[in-house]
Amino acid sequence: MIRRLPTPELGGATALILHRPHATVQALTRQLSAIGLRPAHDWPEPGAAALAADFVFFDADLCHDAMFPWPAGRAPMPLIALIGSEAPGRIEWALSAGADAQMLKPVGDGGVYSALLIARQSFETRRRLADEIAGLKARLAERQTVVKAVLLLAARGKTEAEAYDQLRALAMAWQVTIEEAARRIAEPPEAPEEGGADVRRR
């Protein structure tokens, strides 16, 4: 199946280039401007604006983890590695830094547009999967709460199956996940303070 990519909304997006002053920076800047992005260039320390960039191109030869204002591998935007030395160590580091796409140096006439599209696509896929995994992990962690809630409901004279059905019905009625409904049953909130909001805490 062909995944249809809409012509992406790149107009006005910002792209930060982390690379020492070099012809590669000029080539990237020209291509980015022609495509319609706003290129910026920082070296060696990315400025405060780095976190707001929509794309970051980084030098895989000379950059290191401490340069980035985010935990290693957890960039909040798509990253594109600019690879000069095709040495295993540098490629390994570029991957661990979270490169979503790469371009080989020296950068010449083309390559930026496809790098932008590929980086964005894989960044979004990676982020969607990470969210999904976090959700699944959270649900796994709540298994004990669900068991507790079912046992509490069953203690009122129901079979386990009936108790589970009741839990599911409650979750649907409250429009929350089964895990959240289980938590409300197993860990009832403290009585609300007078005039205070009904804040549920774990």
Binding site: T7, G11, G12, R30, A34, I35, L37, G108, G110, Y113
Partner: protein, 365 residues
């Protein structure tokens, strides 16, 4: 004392898209003659020609040969996007520049190419914006089997879908293939509101002749029903199409008799291909006069004269008039003028797109 300057010409003089190629070559040669005849010019231009004969594999070596064996640093040439993409490595090695005078599908702004004809926000988008409210939202897309046909139809599909339209069918033919029976049978069966024709050369001619026959045979296609729309049809192909051209609708920066584009008025050309190639050579000559024969492309494009021509140094594309015309009695009759449009080759700058049609106002009963 005039400075001699070699200008490369890389146009096929035969092959399946020969009409377009000859129109561009005529335009470039006319401009060279006009520069040389101009007593005010400080240059004498000499064409250095190579003929790839419509063979994709000959473009790159012939371009390299022009750059290696003559003093030419600027080559005017190429019709298909495939051939343009082929020559770019030769241009990089030989430090040459290609002046490309045909409409293209966008998504390219090579540092080694100047694009003097239109890209999608100057042809396809305004054409669809104009056509959908008039003919309807159900389109059939067809094209030649290479980047032009594929990317044009992808953009068309995206644009139509965003407007709530539907693509009833999409079919491709190899460049030069004239076996169009199945394609026309599908169109006859589907009865779309319009057909977007991104076929080129011989395939396009065979298709248009068959569509003309379909109009005779099937009342559902008689008269103005189901028009065929094109972004690359110009006067240079009307003679081979003959009566089959009647009613075709095309978009372009120029049609015979129009006076909104300097390249066209200066050349007196009918076809926008001829005008774009003529304009490329005249611009190049002017920019070389401004900056010297050895200036690199960035210097040429940074000169104020480039801006006066409407040449954008950032995208290497032109600001161009957008005209929509219908073939009536053997000539294009302009039916819509959408003003001057600055190129947006990557479709990333919405402010350069044609305004979306306003929803029709309905009287509330």
């Amino acid at each position: 004392m005039r400075t001699p300057v070699d200008i490369g010409l890389l146009y096929s003089q035969g092959g399946s898209y020969g009409q377009m190629s000859r129109a561009c070559r005529d335009g470039a040669l006319a401009a060279i003659a006009d520069v040389n005849a101009d007593p005010g010019s400080r240059l004498t231009l000499t064409p250095v020609e190579a003929d790839p004969k419509g063979n994709l594999d000959l473009y790159e070596p012939l371009c390299a040969r022009i750059l290696a064996e003559s003093a030419a640093r600027h080559v005017v040439g190429c019709i298909t996007s495939s051939s343009r993409k082929e020559v770019i490595p030769a241009l990089e090695r030989g430090r040459g520049v290609l002046w490309y005078a045909c409409p293209h599908e966008g998504f390219e702004t090579s540092d080694r190419v100047v694009y003097t004809h239109a890209c999608p926000n100057q042809h396809l988008l305004p054409l669809l914006h104009w056509a959908v409210p008039r003919f309807g939202r159900r389109a059939f897309l067809t094209g030649s089997n290479y980047i032009w046909g594929w990317e044009m139809n992808r953009v068309a599909r995206e644009t139509l879908t965003a407007q709530g339209g539907a693509v009833l069918g999409e079919r491709y033919l190899a460049v030069g293939d004239t076996g169009i029976a199945r394609l026309v049978a599908e169109i006859a069966a589907l009865r779309p509101d319009f057909v977007l024709n991104n076929l080129i050369g011989d395939s396009s001619h065979a298709f248009l002749a068959a569509m003309a026959e379909l109009r005779q045979a099937d009342p559902a296609f008689a008269g103005d029903a189901c028009p065929v729309l094109s972004c690359n049809l110009t006067e240079c192909e009307l003679p081979v199409l003959g009566r089959a051209a009647e009613g075709l609708i095309a978009v372009g920066p120029h049609f015979a008799g129009e006076r909104g584009w300097r390249a066209a008025t200066d050349s007196g050309a009918d076809s926008s291909y001829e005008a774009a190639a003529y304009g490329a050579v005249r611009m190049l000559a002017r920019l070389i006069e401004e900056t010297g024969p050895d200036a690199d492309l960035a210097t040429l494009l940074a000169s104020p004269a480039a801006r006066d021509f409407g040449l954008d140094a950032e995208t290497h594309h032109m600001r161009l008039p957008v005209l929509i015309a219908r073939v009536t009695n053997g000539r294009f009759e302009v039916i819509e003028r959408a003003g001057q449009v600055v190129a947006d080759p990557y479709l990333t700058r919405r402010e350069r797109w044609p305004a979306a049609p306003r929803p029709a106002l309905r009287a509330v009963p």
